[in-house]
Symmetry: C2
């Protein structure tokens, strides 16, 4: 048991029982307040912790960091220091905010400089993403897509059970929660026997995904094994990997999705560390056929993370449209990373790798409107009486995720994105 | 006519008639010498020009640059200043090294600090690549691939003549000329009715491509038109976009090539500016069917760049296996950039976009071994008597490119990469 995960720990900062951010979480993010510069923060309850202030006040003595690591617009600076350093940093925070330690809590003048109400801060992109990779690792999703677009009898393509299929995504358009997006425009071909047309996408969709960010990897030409994978993963966030289904359908053969995805991928702003997620590891599915040796793994690499998606029409109430779980993955992060590097591909500090849409067996757990509305044939009822086949203009899509074990709830907060009309 | 392109210009630095680097070129790159730090350089003949030294010696007065822009390991610092600034910088170099100007040439002490023999420097990656996009814009290549793998009667897929098809590539594994690569390992399925196997790729291939690098673009949600495209493109290099055909065949459905490409893409180290390439613009092919309005363009956006590929077996002579030209592109850079951003996708300073394999109509102009050896059925004879269907261990693949017009030859130098055996 990592000490900072001890369920008996309590912070001197008040934390609501339903909060995603007890002292056992201590995620990392980038925030700013008003005109101040961006800096590194953590969070307990409804308080954001200013790590730059803690550094300046001398609370990070004997840790391998400099002030510029905290006065920065991306967590890459602290991630560059590696896993041991970031684990030590989280442990130091755990100690500083533990009710049994009074170094900081007794110093009101310091507390005032360090803690900020969460509604006073703007959360920014947590990481400068180098390369973004999107996997396709949920069997439920791959089966649904194969059933909808190809052959229900052979829904999974021949390679799917052998390879954690993935593809390169667009890093520049990964944006934090709260940043609004515009409905994308592009080429579609509504009728197979007519010429394509140009216009706003009519089939805008969300994709419920989880993403992880990496530390610096090995040099080009070397691979990372499943046993080594944990050393290279810093933490996770929720991702809404926006998709324009009509653009995708016309463009994706033979080189894969491109503009149907690259207009935006939204993420939750707090990176929850793998250290914090350790207690929520769970067994993965039996993999049959037996995977090739480089994809075998020991121990548990799946995580029990409850996920939900809500749609909030403008001036109306939110309707939950999906309840899912990250444990529904067929391929886990260790296998994804081992596969990604088996050809010698190098990973770098700040790379982001997403799960692909997460869908369970049950219809209510499907992670996209494509699946939930079964390609538009089963519209979803909203609380306000309206229906959705896909996402409408001015809808806000909200994804949330949290784990529960040993009486401790750790969560990711949310990624919330409003869709503006095409320009 | 841009003044720095004037064919009558001569430098006080001696330049061989066959050099790729007359004073009309003045490309940009990153170099280092011995233990010194990386810095920005240009080149005339066999001399590398140290731009950091020129800055320190005061030759860049009234240009919008700081020393840190030149004492850097990536051209992004100067590209961040935008097109006008980099054009002015090249014009300043043109003046300093023009035989009619003696400010610098008369100062031997300065000349010694500024010029370095090309064989004394190590050329590094010129650009920190944000996102890397690979297009598929040569009709010859797309037709050949379609003929080999699908249906000769319908070689082009239905979207190909409507869309500059492209996909996201891996930025981390883009490497400069001279960096050796290892043959990649991975999953392949040699027989469709048997399970896949793991091992070194047996079908390692080069892909002859040209790539361009971008200035900062517009914010997420806005597009760049074909008419605006020139303002966002800094310059070009040659790219060998390595491919493992057997890995690709098994992995690429339905999300496109992934590990078959991500182990390495090699580039020539000098970025030749679009300003320098201006005199080599040429008309593109007639596009039929007529493209959608956002892909229409005025003026010429194709470039007449002679390209060649050689294979040099170890301890043996090089054999030229391909003579091609960049003008064989169907879709041009303006169309590629307009398409890439039509959905609102943002481009950033340092993004790299490659052409896709460039193949002309003639067999000798095919830009990959897959096409040259027609999937292995027509082995290529080397000068040493050996044969190649694909690339062997310890082969060095060398690509070169240059333009000729008005008595001026401007080139890219070469991208040369030796293939080591799998580890």
């Amino acid at each position: 048991m990592i000490k900072a995960n001890d369920p008996s720990l309590k912070s001197w900062i008040e934390v609501d029982g339903n909060s995603d951010f007890p002292i056992q979480n201590l995620p990392f993010g980038i925030f700013k307040t008003g005109q101040d510069k961006a800096r590194v923060g953590s969070r307990i309850g409804n308080k954001v912790i200013d790590l730059n202030a803690l550094y300046v006040l001398g609370y990070f003595k004997n840790l391998p960091f400099e002030q510029s690591d905290f006065q920065t617009d991306a967590l890459n600076t602290i991630m560059k220091k590696g896993k041991e350093a970031t684990t030590d940093l989280r442990n130091r925070l755990s100690k500083l905010f533990d009710e049994k330690h009074t170094d900081l809590s007794n110093n009101n003048h310091h507390v005032e400089q360090v803690l900020i109400d969460v509604d006073q801060v703007e959360m920014l992109m947590p990481v400068q993403v180098g390369d973004y990779t999107d996997f396709y690792s949920s069997r439920g999703h791959a089966t649904n897509v194969g059933t909808l677009f190809r052959d229900p009898a052979n829904a999974l393509l021949p390679n799917w059970l052998w390879i954690p299929v993935g593809y390169h995504g667009r890093a520049s358009s990964i944006i934090p929660s709260e940043q609004m997006i515009k409905r994308p425009k592009g080429q579609t071909r509504p009728n197979d026997d007519q010429d394509p047309v140009f216009g706003a996408s009519k089939l805008l969709d969300f994709e419920l995904e989880m993403a992880f960010v990496t530390f610096d990897g090995k040099p080009l030409g070397e691979n990372i094994t499943t046993a080594e994978a944990s050393d290279y993963i810093f933490g996770m966030c929720i991702m809404n990997d926006w998709s324009a289904r009509d653009i995708q359908k016309w463009e994706y053969v033979p080189l894969g999705p491109f503009l149907a995805k690259s207009f935006a991928s939204s993420i939750s702003p707090w990176i929850v560390t793998m250290d914090a997620l350790e207690p929520f590891k769970t067994e993965g599915p039996k993999q049959d056929p037996k995977v090739l040796p480089y994809l075998e793994y020991e121990g548990d690499f799946h995580y029990d993370i409850n996920l939900e998606v809500g749609i909030k029409p403008e001036n109306s109430e939110e309707t939950t449209v999906c309840n899912s779980n990250y444990k529904y993955m067929y391929w886990n992060m260790a296998q994804q990373l081992a596969h990604h590097t088996i050809n010698g591909c190098n990973i770098r500090c700040g790379d982001m790798m997403a799960s692909g849409t997460i869908s369970g067996d049950d219809h209510s757990s499907f992670g996209s409107m494509l699946e939930l509305s079964w390609r538009g044939s089963k519209p979803i009822k909203m609380k306000d009486g309206s229906e959705r086949k896909f996402i409408n203009d001015n809808d806000t899509v909200i994804m949330r995720g949290h784990c529960n074990a040993n009486g401790v709830r750790i969560g990711f907060g949310e990624v919330s994105t409003k869709v503006l009309p095409a320009q």
